[in-house]
């Protein structure tokens, strides 16, 4: 670095440091962080979206369940506070957080750049893969093998967007209005293979052992993560530490496998 610039930088840094010191002292005297408040109240409020199996569901007794609910319960336990699940619809997950109705959103929020404009993502604690599933006899090992094949997709889903993107020319995509119709077409042989989430593919294969279905390849993988308000650095740091430790001790993997039937893939960090 140019000497003059370095000196100038230090002067600016020095002045900034004095200002920052004053600001920190003031902040510590007047404002508690969200993490402080959670610990003082002994309660954390976390969003719960219960129409997205296997992430969030209502069980037969009307109790909240699913992998994200289990993660929220684990988090509150590890934090040593009471859990208040704030039930929200999918479009309300972020607004509920921003409006202060929840301290944290844990509702299978996939990480997107648009969402990152208004909230801060913690490190991912789960992943959702889109796969191509087909009977064992079908030679479809890679995207190129889909050429000349009939591949079923459900409208309005991630797979409808992701599968054609990486597909070769000559794939005969067949679109269905709901996943039940896609599954029916796969089982009846109307299509050679189908794109769906890895969870759905496992579930279909388990329920129809005679069909000899197997996952052929992964098309796309999206990671989801807890989200906090952008200013809540301390809470985000605590949650990242929780994600770190519960990756290390296998708790996140256990929850994921219990609800999804899938192995938790390696989780990258932001």
């Amino acid at each position: 670095m140019n000497r003059r610039d370095l000196v100038a930088g230090k002067t600016i840094a020095g002045a900034a440091a004095l200002t920052a010191l004053a600001a920190t002292a003031q902040a510590q005297a007047t404002a508690k962080t969200t993490l402080d408040r959670i610990l003082a109240d002994k309660k954390i409020r976390i969003t719960a979206e219960v129409t997205s199996p296997p992430f969030g569901t209502l069980d037969r007794n009307g109790q909240l369940d699913g992998s994200e609910i289990a993660t929220s319960r684990q988090l509150a336990k590890d934090l040593g506070v009471e859990l208040e699940l704030v039930q929200v619809t999918a479009p309300q997950r972020i607004p509920a957080l921003l409006a202060g109705r929840a301290d944290l959103a844990i509702s299978s929020l996939s990480i997107t750049l648009d969402r990152a404009k208004t909230v801060a993502f913690c490190n991912p604690h789960g992943a959702l893969s889109t796969v191509i599933t087909a009977p064992k006899g079908k030679p479809i090992a890679a995207p190129a093998d889909m050429a000349g094949k009939r591949i079923g997709l459900t409208r309005g889903t991630l797979e409808e967007a992701a599968v054609p993107k990486g597909a070769p020319a000559g794939v005969n995509f067949v679109f269905f209005d709901d996943i039940a119709a896609t599954i029916q077409a796969l089982l009846s042989g109307q299509v050679d293979g189908a794109g769906m989430s890895a969870f759905a593919a496992s579930s279909v294969a388990e329920r129809n052992p005679g069909a000899g279905l197997e996952k052929k390849f992964t098309v796309a993988r999206a990671y989801y993560a807890p989200a906090v308000r952008q200013a809540d650095h301390e809470l985000r740091q605590w949650i990242n530490t929780l994600v770190f430790l519960n990756k290390q001790n296998g708790v996140l993997a256990d929850i994921y496998e219990k609800y999804t039937g899938e192995k938790l893939p390696d989780l990258p960090v932001i």
Binding site: L6, G9, A90, P95, G100, S110, I111, T112, L158, P268
Partner: protein, 269 residues
Amino acid sequence: MNRRGLFATGTGLAGAALLLPSPAAAQGTAATTLDRILKEKVVRIACDTSSPPFGTIGSGGKPDGVEVACCKQLAKDLGVELDLVQVVATQRIPALLAGRADVTLSSISVTFDRAKTVAFCNPNGALSIVVFGPQKTAMTKAADMADKRIGITRATLEEAELPKIAPPGARIVWFDDISATIQALLSGQVDAASMSEFAARSVMERNPRAGIEVKFLVRRAFYGPIVRQADHELRQWVNTWIFLNKQNGVIAEIYTKYTGIDLPELPII
């Protein structure tokens, strides 16, 4: 399975968010730099355009290069206009600190000294520093620099790294910009020069008759975007941007397109 919620695009959410007080207002704090960028719909990114292949002036007189392409991608993904603040290498950090830019994305290697005044985002690329020179300069390792004149450019990683491995008797000659270093090498004013492997490759390609070759590797370093230290929210968004563009391969594509080599695995801070 209903996965509409998981994969709802940001559009619906952003629409809903607009109806609410901004996060900053809700929390009773001042608007952040990220808030301001989104409100004004323009992000000012400082980039040095005299450092191929990171920043160059292309054939049409327009800025180009790995980092310029990353600046464009970042603004596009942020959904705002790009105001590319062209700076010389020595002004990359001062321009940010003085508020002339919101981000500097200009192959800034992560160093302790820089981290005292700015906050590094996670690395978006890597560079190797080499010593290179004409075939007549006999040099295969650091010790061979004794009694040789080695040109380096100020405010670069090589300025920080090369003296550490230079033997007694090596004569390091400093230049204010890389074109002066290159000129000194081509004219024989120095016996060898140190710069990034990419810059060295570019010099060799453009001057095939100079008989220049890479002598040895000094070190590999990672570089990342920088923001002002208080801009936590912006840093977090940029880190999310890097995370997703590592996953989807866009950063690797840009890197390979301009450098001709594969992007190594990028660690995070």
